[in-house]
């Protein structure tokens, strides 16, 4: 399938570049429908690999790239339920997400995240699956999960550690603070910083440049320098599931859901 228009995302193949556009209001929260549509995307990606050289992931919403997991939906699944039952469902949910993230991470195509605004939690983790992150100046990156009594669960810690090292992970994870693009570029998280609204254009230009290279060599180079941290990813699921049974999580989710702020993103 060369194109798809779903309720939370769309994609199209154009000039050898697959563009995945996120468009679920208010800020591309990743819930069950997004996961279903991402699963369709990775299934299609497999078939499009021979027709494309790059993937660009971006958001069509002004608010940002993605605020991460849909915490309201997650709370509904947890509220007043048996913890063992919830734990089983959460593990299944994480395994589906990890399949998607690992597939994008290991894609033979060169992948680019064009980000702006809120790039938090699971949204940040989606960007981290990409080979390059191009950000406009409004972008902010954050792992706010600890305030919910959790760790990031979409593979972000192992990927960030692989790409930038343990100290950066500790800073983001243990303080819950967010980084702007200046900081993100200083530490090597972001490859290019552009003015507001320009990230997608620059990502397309970068994708066009990538198209000039021999695909076989580019794929070999990527496989050589970007191993999938499988063991740590599995461990992450275990830790997340263990933490998820703690009462602090339900309480943290409840506070978030009951917040009067429509978008309570400030860590």
């Amino acid at each position: 399938m060369n194109s798809f228009h779903g309720q939370t995302l769309s994609w199209k193949l154009r000039d050898g570049v697959i563009e995945l556009a996120l468009h679920r209001e208010p800020c591309n929260e990743i819930g069950s429908l997004t996961i279903e549509e991402l699963e369709r995307f990775v299934a299609a990606l497999e078939g499009l690999t021979h027709e494309a050289h790059a993937v660009v992931i971006h958001s069509m919403l002004k608010s940002g790239f993605s605020a991460g997991a849909d915490l309201r939906e997650l709370y509904q699944q947890v509220e007043h339920r048996e913890r063992s039952e919830v734990a089983r469902e959460v593990r299944h949910y994480l395994e589906r997400i990890h399949h998607i993230m690992n597939f994008i991470d290991a894609s033979p195509l060169t992948t680019i995240a064009a980000v702006h605004g809120v790039t938090f939690g699971g949204g940040f983790e989606l960007a981290l699956t990409c080979d390059l992150i191009i950000a406009d100046k409004t972008a902010r990156f954050c792992f706010p999960e600890l305030r919910l009594g959790l760790i990031p669960g979409f593979g972000g810690i192992p990927r960030l550690k692989r790409d930038l090292g343990n100290a950066v992970v500790r800073d983001l994870l243990l303080t819950g603070r967010s980084f702007n693009t200046t900081k993100a570029q200083q530490i090597g998280l972001v490859s290019q910083v552009v003015t507001e609204g320009e990230a997608l254009r620059v990502a397309r230009a970068t994708a066009a440049q990538i198209g000039k290279f021999d695909r076989c060599a580019a794929t070999a180079a990527k496989r050589f320098i970007k191993p999938i941290p499988c063991e740590e990813l599995r461990r992450e699921i275990d830790i997340f599931c263990e933490l998820f049974t703690h009462p602090a999580v339900e309480e943290g989710l409840r506070k978030f859901v009951e917040s009067k702020d429509a978008q309570p993103y400030l860590p």
């Binding site: 902010r140 303080t175 819950g176 702007n180 900081k183 978008q263 400030l266 860590p267």
Partner: protein
């Protein structure tokens, strides 16, 4: 290094321009959530603008409990 007064003035000018509020309607002790009518998402946007303008890092937790422009200016001044 600019004085706290100068920093405060720059914050007020920047906030007024960014959120399209007349500068004269903003004063140092205003609650900026109320005066600017902003939510936490827009607060992050303001934080980004301030960090880039003053070339400082301002961790989000430094803003917890801060709701007036004067205290915000003091937090930024401490990092200039």
């Amino acid at each position: 290094m600019p004085s706290t007064h100068q920093t405060l003035d720059e914050i007020l000018t920047l906030a007024a321009a960014h959120f399209k509020v007349p500068r004269e309607k903003l004063s140092p002790d205003d609650d900026f959530f109320k005066t600017l009518g902003i939510n936490s998402l827009q607060t992050l946007d303001l934080l980004t603008k301030l960090e880039l303008h003053f070339h400082v890092e301002l961790p989000d937790y430094e803003l917890q409990g801060v709701s007036d422009f004067r205290t915000l200016a003091e937090r930024i001044q401490a990092r200039l």
